[in-house]
Amino acid sequence: MGIYEISLATVVGINIILALGLNMITGFCGQISLGHAAFYGVGAYTCALLAKAGTPLPLAIAAGMISAGAVGLVVGLASLRVRHDFLAITTMGVGFLFLGIVRQQEILGGELGISGIPSSGMSKIAYLVLVFFLVALFTAFSLWIKRSWMGFAFDAVADDEDTARVMSVDVGAYKLVAFAMGTAMAGVAGGLYTYFARFLMPDDFGFIASISVLSMVAVGGIGSVFGVIVATIILTLMPEFFRFISDYKLLVYGTLLFAVMRFAPEGLAGLARSLIDRIRPEVSAEKEVA
């Protein structure tokens, strides 16, 4: 693998962690967020400041995770008051608020961003291994949550939160946990990005980044861990392999998002499922009986 491929793979890995985080909130718990990049940014900036102050890498990334999760918990409180499109607008506002604050703070580098972030002290390939180790960890974590009773409760909240309440589910608590976990994962992605890029710009964490992550989750199939991973890989690599797309990246993402919502609301995961059902109808029929 050349340097280019390694850095591409690293970006894919970071995006997967970011997307799995949003999948926890939007996919599992059904709470839309249009401001996920803000938490990515909180993690990245926290990590960058600590790294420049000489904090070792594991601690800096962990701090990024905790700070993003803590801010996420506070934003999650909004989800207790507003729902659906109102929550979308609120989280979008959080995204702009984050940018607005970062741009005005001298200590955060303002418009110029933060440069001179120390190296991770690892070779590029070793760093890639670290990123993929964390990808594996968060993939396993997501799959675990989905199968656990917490995931079961998330399903109920995502389906119909009023009924979930009547059925004794503490909806508020589950929403907060989903926000905290999902945004903490965004914080880890941010920390990893900091050591990878070693230069942060406010625009890296803007609205476009939030929409890109949402595209990955929606195209993959909301709630499906593997669908989200596949979609993240495709959507991250596509603009790289087809250079001409790069200029129209947003147009392509927008079109894809529209097409998925209109024609395959369950995303790639849903398409794969119906394809399998069509190829092996007898198997799925048996499963129904079992």
């Binding site: 009773w149 917490m150 399903d155 389906d159 309440r165 059925m167 589910v169 909806v171």
Partner: protein, 255 residues
Amino acid sequence: MGVILDIRNVTVRFGGVVALDNVSFQVNKGEFLCLIGPNGAGKTTMMRAVTGVVKPQSAQVLLAGRDISSLPIHKRARLGLALTHQIVRPFRSMTVLDNVALTAGHRLIGRIFRSMVSLDRSTERRQARKYLRLVGIEDVSQKSVVGQPLGVTKRLEVARALALEPKVLLLDEPLAGLNSVEAARLADTVADINREGLTTVVMIEHNLGEVMRVSQRLVVLDNGRKIADGSPADVMRNRTVRAAYVGKEYQNAAA
């Protein structure tokens, strides 16, 4: 027989409309009480106020002697109030079985960190199957709830509420939409559960035939006020109740 559910002075206003006007009644432990009244009398609002879904202007609700008036919905459910919806609201992403298994696992769901580390659903699914068998829809347990006929989803509502192991089961028109055989069977099932002492039942129902057959006591609401409270036969002889149901003309004609 002590009082299990003590409902005191419930007043609910929606804007200028008084849906419930200072209504009080008590539910004794182990009884089968039916809440009846014409459309718009405030029956559903009463149940929603008791479970906390609707915020009353004033109300005091005591469940087994404990004041639950200020508790959020899920805590009231955890303490033993289960409500079924008149218009069915199953969890649409789940199978019929999992709809019930979720509430059968209410103790696990109640502890958020334990829910995170627990994977096994087999015990709860086994319990859920028991409740599905009880209401007679075990054969569709593995099917998705989407596309199930009303006869199934209505009974699913009851099974799901039973799985909460409530002290008081509040049923909002569980028989509406069922054919007469299904309705009689479900009414019998609920009456059996009640007779075995598993739960106290409060049921809203328009099917007066079934109401007279299974209930031990009636509370009648009309226009947000309680107009009668007593044994089914007494209540049905009550003039005010007859007037509310059949209209004033009848009373005049009879007089």
